[in-house]
Amino acid sequence: MENPGGLSINSSEQDQLRNYLLGRLDDHGEEQVEQRLLSDDEFFEEFELIESELIDQFVYGRLSDEERVLFEEHLLQTPKQREKLAFATALREETTDHLARTIQVVPFEPRPKVRIRSPNLLKIAAAVIVAVGLPVTVWVLVGRRTSDIERGMLALNQAYKNERLVESRISEVNYSQFRPTRGGQDSQIDTRALNEAGLRLSESARTTGNAASYHALGRFYLAGKDFEKAKDQFEQAIRLDSQNAELQSDYAAALFELGKAARNDDEAKAAEYFNKSLEHINRALVLNDSLLEALFNRGLLLEELTRLPEAEDTWRTYLQIDSTSPWTKEARRHLSAIEDQRKKASETPGALP
């Protein structure tokens, strides 16, 4: 049945071990497993193997919600268990980076028939050749990918020129006034530009599949309050490029917004989002300690968590770096609000500072 020298544990025994690890067995079941663990070397090795597979599934986000909770209860409690998780995380990142290094990021895919038939594109191509003197085929096949993202982001900024729907800062998205409700007769969103942004950025992600295109599409979804879709795109991008500070910051913003959305119905879920958001904001700031988007969003997050002294520090740090952009008005408003709260608290007898 199995290779010589391999384990001969059957699938129901594997299920039993998985359930044991997740704490699903009753006392009798546990006793059966433990008896065998102490005396059966093969069974014990399978136990450790299944534990490592559970850890990998957790790291890759493949456990069901129920299993994830059980995993955290049973397999993340001791330093040794957390050490195993850290190893699995490092292994995931290392294998992903290894894959990214061995795959061409921008595939050289000749599609001359489709492109040459398009008169508009020929005109554009000719204009570019005249303008920059680049070989036509290289520009058509490679440059178009880049310009899809650039054009998509231009359109996105155009769409939200007069108002924005999310409070968080998104990298490469310019300032506009925050208005949380979407739609309505007085909406100032440029829907034509929004559609163009969606089309260009989706196409870029579909055809290129690199970190930049997933990141850009994630920004589109985040700006439009499609937080789950934004999260998915950012996660795809991060798998390919985990060292991009802006990407980490935008991912954190998506998680933060998801946390806010979950807060009324599911505190535990919200806490999980906020925790992960802070992890990624901090990662962004490790990569670039003066990244304004990350600092701004960190201030928002810490306020949401009512960690006001830290939020105050963050807003002050932000304003030291940026004292002139339109974002500073909001940053100052947040800082003032915290200072007011602190003053009120110190004036109230018995209140915590």
């Binding site: 199995e2 006793e31 663990l37 102490l38 850290a86 292994l91 995931r92 599949g209 798998r239």
Partner: protein, 182 residues
């Protein structure tokens, strides 16, 4: 906690019971102790090593009564004693999923882990490096070789591949642990 005194003689008696030779008994003792620790860890006990030692000490204390008539693998006897030790201890850890945010320091730990991992990977034979990289990559990413494909290329069943990858992983974990400690 049960702190029955363990003498040299009583410990030697345990080794004699566990194995036909002293070395054999010592190895069995180490194995049992390590597995008891794992069992207590899985029960979310805050001090698995302490409970494992308590279990062993209690077994040692009963040796004179159990060894004349005991039939079967001695390791199984430890299981029953361990369950009693666990019940008596009442040391089940309260569930406290840490909500402490990960600080930049944790990211530095991850960076260091990765550096150690790269260094440990480089010490493996090339074939094992390739196997680990191919086996543990995220299966959701495009353009990766499936595990089935990998198994076919290596002439292994899926389970044999799984075991082989796991055994290499165990070596890597040990290496990374030592590297991080250095």
């Amino acid at each position: 906690m049960n702190n029955e005194a363990v003498t040299h003689d009583s410990f030697e008696a345990l080794l004699s019971w566990l194995g036909t030779t002293r070395d054999d008994g010592a190895q069995k003792y180490e194995t049992i102790r390590a597995r008891l620790i794992r069992i207590f860890m899985n029960k979310r006990c805050t001090d698995p090593e302490d409970l494992a030692d308590t279990t062993i000490n209690r077994v040692i204390g009963k040796l004179s009564t159990i060894t004349p008539d005991y039939v079967g693998d001695p390791a199984s006897y430890f299981c029953g004693v361990a369950r009693m030790v666990y019940l008596e201890s009442g040391r089940r850890k309260e569930l406290t999923i840490s909500r402490e945010p990960v600080t930049p320091a944790a990211d530095l730990v991850l960076d260091q882990s990765r550096k150690c991992l790269r260094s440990c990977l480089a010490q493996l034979p090339t074939q094992q490096q390739v196997l680990v990289m191919d086996y543990y990559v995220d299966e959701k990413l495009e353009k990766i070789k499936s595990r089935q494909q990998l198994a076919s290329e290596l002439g292994l069943t899926m389970n044999a591949l799984r075991i082989r990858a796991y055994r290499i992983r165990t070596l890597l974990e040990q290496c990374v642990r030592e590297c991080m400690a250095a």
